[in-house]
């Protein structure tokens, strides 16, 4: 072996050795971190990834006694059934109607609230107002549903009693399909307006105070300051929140509609999640319910990834 080749051989050996010892050194310092991560990784495998493999039953004729894997394949029969089912389209339509309503009319509300709360300077009043406004976020949907049925009852509800006393009319707030959408929207706003305002208020506190002083010197009025100085300065937060909300267009949680709906209003109140629940657990059509859920999951995933990409392009910020 020539001298130079020998040197090269030694150098490469040293490199291999040192790389290996670096790895060893790294693990001797870090193995405890990996040990900590073992239970979480198992948790995600058992309770998140394993159910994803359960999606195959959408392509099978699921038989309770045979289990997921032994049930016979059925190809696209389930989806053919779903796409012929009028209740499926009704659930999609209802989900979209409620979400679009919430986006167009509901989205600006917490922003306005944050702007007005920002104008409240006194400590105690501001604090009490905030406490009252955040509270609904912590009340369960069962309780809200129960309260709603008491408050909006046609015969004993406080709202209808007041309407009756003043105008001599009663309104079927929760039993007429059209009115139900209205009531659902009002309750949604009441539930989330305060909590959603927090994020805008924290954005407002980070605005440079000098701008406000300059505005004051220039004789800007309060409303002018609110809408032409505060609002443009939280534009980025607004854009991100808007994009995030568009990403949830295909989803409505299960607990809110379930607590507020009743058999008289299913034509507008049955959303995808409650439809899946009914078909799956009450009618025991597991394959159909899984298929509908899968359809929703995929649409949802596309929307979230899509809106996040747009958000990153436009504002340089997103969820990841």
């Amino acid at each position: 072996m020539s001298d130079s080749a020998d040197k090269r051989y030694n150098a490469s050996q040293r490199k291999v050795y040192s790389r290996r010892s670096k790895t060893l050194l790294y693990f001797s310092g870090h193995w405890q971190f990996y040990l900590m991560l073992v239970p979480p990784i198992i948790y995600y495998a058992v309770f998140h990834y394993k159910p994803m493999t359960g999606l195959v039953i959408a392509f099978k004729d699921y038989n309770m006694f045979k289990g997921t894997w032994a049930s016979p394949w059925s190809g696209l029969t389930t989806f053919r059934y779903i796409f012929k089912n009028p209740d499926f389209y009704r659930a999609i339509k209802n989900t979209l109607v409620l979400n679009v309503l919430n986006l167009i009319l509901g989205f600006p509300m917490p922003i306005l609230l944050a702007l007005f709360l920002n104008e409240l300077k006194t400590g105690v009043i501001k604090k009490i107002t905030q406490t009252i406004l955040y509270l609904p976020h912590f009340i369960s949907w069962v309780i809200i549903g129960g309260m709603a049925y008491q408050i909006f009852s046609m015969t004993t509800g406080i709202v209808n009693n007041a309407l009756n006393a003043v105008f001599g009319i009663t309104v079927p707030f929760l039993t007429n399909p059209g009115w139900w959408v209205f009531t659902y929207f009002i309750i949604s706003v009441w539930h989330s307006i305060g909590w959603s305002a927090i994020i805008y208020m924290s954005a407002i506190t980070s605005i440079d105070q000098e701008i406000y002083e300059a505005a004051k010197v220039d004789g800007s009025t309060r409303f002018h300051t609110m809408f032409f100085i505060t609002l443009p300065n939280i534009k980025n937060t607004i854009v991100i929140m808007l994009i995030l909300q568009v990403g949830t267009m295909a989803t409505i949680g299960f607990e809110q509609p379930l607590s507020l709906q009743n058999s008289a209003v299913m034509s507008t109140a049955d959303v995808i999640s409650t439809f899946v629940y009914r078909v799956g657990t009450q009618n025991a059509k597991y394959s159909v319910a899984t298929g509908v859920g899968m359809f929703q999951s995929i649409i949802n995933f596309i929307l979230v990834v899509g809106t996040n990409t747009i958000s990153n392009r436009l504002t340089g910020q997103g969820i990841w």
């Binding site: 405890q32 058992v46 359960g54 927090i198």
Partner: protein, 247 residues
């Protein structure tokens, strides 16, 4: 007024509350939910810290792969029915653990905690590491005592979600001994079982209408939140503030 029910309460009467507290099913559900919430918060906090602490270290090899593995589950899931069948296959239906294990880590809360951990100065750990302390010791002795406010915030998020949540108990629990307070409430409010409750308390039979008992049940289960919430509000708000900073 249409039928004698006015806008303002006529007289103060606590019979309805006697009915609620006399009802052993309601009280049983209360204790069950308290136990469930305590166990749930203990285990979820342990798991969340164990996930967030290693992942907060930028030098951890494979960190991005593990994060992707975890965050993917926020945006795609098997959905309600495969989740139900999974619990069934694991033999957890109608068990205490079906209300604990599926929610052991809330990915959102975990990311809040990770963001917080990565904002702590590294020098704190370095000196302990030089003294030869293991990572578990550093976590328990140095990091966690510094994170009390953050831990309280996340623990409250978990506690409230467990106390208020009922979609899992609707799906997984049939045995009425394991009804959570919210599920019991749902039986009473939505499925009209308040008449039986009234019959359990003889003195109430004459004077009470189901609506009053329902209202009493609603107040009964809202009480714990109403009592603790005003004192802890600042912690909740802190959680949202941390969440608004991208980590």
């Amino acid at each position: 007024m249409s039928n004698g029910v006015g806008l303002w309460p006529v007289e103060f009467d606590i019979t309805a509350y006697k009915v609620v507290f006399n009802n052993h099913l309601m009280v049983r559900s209360l204790w069950f939910t308290i136990l469930l919430t305590v166990v749930f918060v203990g285990l979820t906090m342990g798991m969340t810290v164990m996930t967030a602490y290693p992942l907060a270290r930028k030098d951890l090899k494979g960190r991005n792969i593990i994060l992707l593995y975890i965050i993917f589950t926020m945006y795609f899931s098997g959905g309600m029915i495969p989740g139900y069948l999974n619990i069934k296959e694991l033999g957890l239906l109608n068990s205490f653990w079906s209300l604990v294990l599926p929610g052991l880590i809330s990915t959102y809360n975990m990311i809040l905690m990770k963001t917080f951990f990565s904002s702590l100065p590294e020098e704190l750990e370095e000196s302990a590491r030089i003294d030869g302390a293991g990572e578990f010791t550093i976590l328990v002795r140095i990091i966690l005592p510094l994170s009390k406010a953050m831990l309280a915030t996340i623990a409250l998020f978990y506690a409230v979600s467990r106390w208020n949540g009922f979609s899992d108990s609707v799906l997984y629990i049939n045995d009425s001994r394991m009804y959570t307070l919210q599920l019991r409430l749902r039986q009473i409010v939505a499925l009209n079982q308040s008449d039986e409750m009234i019959n359990d308390t003889p003195e109430a039979k004459a004077s009470l209408i189901p609506e009053t008992v329902k209202a009493a049940c609603l107040v009964f289960s809202m009480l714990p939140i109403l009592v603790i919430y005003p004192w802890l509000q600042k912690y909740f708000v802190k959680g949202v503030m941390i969440g608004s900073v991208k980590g």
